[in-house]
Subunit: 484 residues, 2 copies
């Protein structure tokens, strides 16, 4: 049962607020092994809804699901030089199996480019086998020194798409298509506005030619990289020998991509929308879109209220609304209201004896506090009114998050401007893209380069433009911000 | 692309036939790490359909999904004496993480009773928190010495249900309810008749008080344990301290259950229905229920045939049928027919120039070979005709599998009778249930006890009845058979 004391206010300690909400809303908890988490039903159902929203989009764009092994030979990881350098410090290594020491240690997949590259080299023979469009839903393990529930955990759940193409052009188009799919999911399902952009060489995926990401602003203005899409060039194709016979009967290396979204997104939803009362969930992904709280005193009232509640519940359920009836005994309505507010349920319906008489319900919006968010809705046509209300909440939440974010995006003409912005918003500067300059900015401001937004850059290496910080030729315009 | 040579005939080598079908139908392949597998899209989609069918049933019976960690401290596994004895030889052990040797080795979950027991002790405080009904979709690892794709793999996918109850009675009812859910799924989705029964002490889950299973007969008469449901008593509750405060304010240990179905079921579908032409898939779980093969010679025909094919495809797709159009160039219709036959697609539709003219299609059933299974279907009302045809195939397949099995179930009055049956069917005998007697039967006949069928046993320990093999008092009637 939920403890009904409030969460730490955001203004007091944002980080504690986050942990309080995740734990008190029953989203997740720490596992016995440090850095791992237990995703509780309410948190898992949130992830399931994000998962379904993505899966539909993957299938609609021609991808098929498959499953590749958890255990990868150490030698596979070592084949791509940049890849092993990036992942070696984070690997979990299996040295014993079936009661014996293994001849070759195995790693638990930190990501599956290598083993999927191995499979693709077998599956792909001719240009007829291309494009090959695969997705996998899986768990991965990356040893995490400073774990945080959902945001950074040693084990996390994700999907990883892996595709192979005959031409560079096609592979690049796929990379950007999946970036768009992610942005569409974030905006239209999670009500989180995102900025699509290119990652700097420093921040790109180990082994990729280019990495793209969607970046979202959290409630404390920090950035959260919420999904990535990588153009891998021919790097993995060459290392794993993914070749095909082209129409002229010549062997060619394929061009590959990979892209992923993880349970980190759940943390993003918490931080993009939550307030001092707890979670606020966008209706499209909320496990419960509506919670009904029956209110009664006498046993006689109880019977009438419960009967009417069932009527209302059935009507909404039949219309496809995800509802929950809070029948718990021995808890006051006030306790229940706070509890569901903390869990971020978009709409609460109260049904008391007077509502039974009036054949109506009292609705309250999570996103609009107090009387302003309350409304009496008649039973007749209730399913339509609720559907409309949920749509309205969904778009209001996106609007509010967009307004919050847009007010905190700043174009910075000087390094000093950027320094003033960091921690209060994101700063857009002309940036050279060199690791040295990024390191300096990070050291001096704690901000990292988030991305070179596609919208803000018509071309790379614009002539005669210099890095706002170091004066070297600019690669393009990049956002810098504190980030998770 | 599929190789179009046939599979090894079942009569020649059943085991090779199985591997041929699994590989040639693109269900799965061996992974680089011995004992692990790569589940290819066609095999994964089959699993996804089984998964969805189960998930709907779990939710309908009040269970919620959650996710528990892959990595478990070695000390957890060691807490339940029988459990560690059963699983120790199969464990994969992580000794290094994040570049360092770990203080305590971690095991990759072989099953999650221990870590979920740990979580439940935290989640459960009072009788109000019970029953707790949880399911997890996950991968598990059990080191496998003699791996076979889907049937026995070091890593496999499964669901594991874990529930806690206030009373023994409720926990027992849950155990049997989930056994029924599994049987319902096997029979009504996979068209595989199953026998529900109690496992012998020798064959039960390590740590359970009692294990129940559904047992299915494969095409070579061997048995496949296709799902298990365990009544765990208070074993794990006592070891992991799962206690609740009852209505009289006294601490009580909970009663727990666990139950699982795995990707092994995919192997069961292959072997319960397959024939010398390859797979035969029940429509309800087939990735493609209908494949349309357009047939053309001239470019002019091609255009007309493809246009009509699109019409047919849209009509069926709109009706919710899972269809695939085989547009591959450069392959003869005959090659394609064989290919889809091998992949077990329930219905094939052929569309040639004459069909376009007649506004009709030629349908062919996978389960009824030759002319008998062919039928011309008019475009008008096609979606209804196909829906009916699929229903008919589904029930015909169940009927055929049931007939095949029932003809091979034998009541054996003597041990000699049993010896004659083994390898050609299953023998039902009175059985003492002791490990010594089971071991002897296994050594002498290679048959193992499958289960004490619930239907064939009105009571345990019937008075005055003796074990057919050793003469000791019988526990009940049990099936013995060769098994996977």
């Amino acid at each position: 049962m939920a403890e009904n004391k409030g969460v730490t206010p955001q203004s007091e300690d944002y980080s504690r607020w986050y942990t309080d909400v995740v734990k008190m809303a029953d989203l997740a908890d720490n596992a016995p092994v440090r850095g791992c988490m237990i995703i509780k039903p309410y948190g898992y159902e949130l992830w399931e809804n994000i998962k379904t929203a993505l899966d539909i989009r993957f299938k609609a764009t021609g991808h098929r699901n498959a499953y590749f092994p958890l255990l990868i030979p150490m030698s596979f990881i070592e084949k791509e030089a940049e890849h092993v350098e990036g992942f070696a410090p984070e690997l979990a290594v299996v040295t014993h199996g079936g009661g014996k020491e293994l001849e070759e240690p195995l790693v638990i997949r930190p990501t599956s480019e290598t083993v999927i590259g191995h499979a693709f080299s077998d599956w792909i023979q001719s240009y007829r086998d291309l494009p090959l469009l695969i997705n996998q839903w899986a768990n991965v393990v990356r040893w995490e020194k400073r774990p945080r529930l959902f945001l950074r955990t040693t084990e996390f759940l994700w999907q990883e798409g892996h595709t192979a193409h005959a031409t560079e052009e096609e592979a690049r188009a796929e990379t950007l298509q999946m970036l768009d799919v992610y942005a569409d999911m974030a905006v239209n399902e999670c009500a989180i506005p995102v900025i699509k952009g290119l990652k700097s060489p420093q921040e790109k995926f180990a082994g990729a030619a280019e990495s793209y990401a969607i970046e979202a602003m959290m409630g404390n203005t920090w950035a959260l990289q919420s999904g990535t899409s990588h153009f891998l060039g021919q790097n993995f194709a060459k290392v794993f020998d993914i070749q095909y016979l082209d129409e002229d009967n010549e062997q060619q290396y394929a061009w590959t991509t990979s892209w992923g979204v993880s349970t980190r997104m759940v943390g993003g939803v918490v931080m993009a929308h939550g307030d001092d009362k707890g979670l606020r969930l966008p209706p499209r992904i909320a496990p419960y879109q509506v919670v009904i709280t029956p209110i009664w005193k006498s046993e006689e009232q109880r019977e009438a209220v419960f009967a009417f509640t069932e009527l209302v519940a059935d009507q909404l359920r039949d219309a496809g609304t995800r509802i929950h009836v809070d029948k718990r005994d021995g808890l006051s309505p006030g306790f229940k209201f706070n509890d569901w507010e903390m869990r971020g349920v978009p709409v609460r319906l109260e049904i008391g004896p007077r509502d039974v008489e009036g054949r109506s319900v009292m609705s309250a919006r999570r996103d609009v506090p107090g009387k302003e968010g309350k409304q009496v809705l008649p039973l007749e046509g209730l399913e339509m009114a609720i559907a409309e209300l949920l749509e309205n909440i969904q778009s209001s939440m996106l609007e509010a998050a967009t307004k919050f974010r847009d007010e905190r995006l700043h174009e910075c003409a000087t390094y000093d401007d950027l320094k003033k912005i960091v921690g209060k918003g994101w700063g857009l500067i002309w940036h050279c893209g060199t690791p040295e300059c990024e390191d300096r900015i990070k050291e001096e401001t704690k901000a990292t380069s988030r991305c070179f937004p596609l919208e803000a850059n018509e071309q790379w290496h614009p002539e005669g433009v210099q890095c706002t910080v170091c004066g070297k030729p600019a690669f393009g315009r990049a956002y810098f911000a504190r980030a998770y």
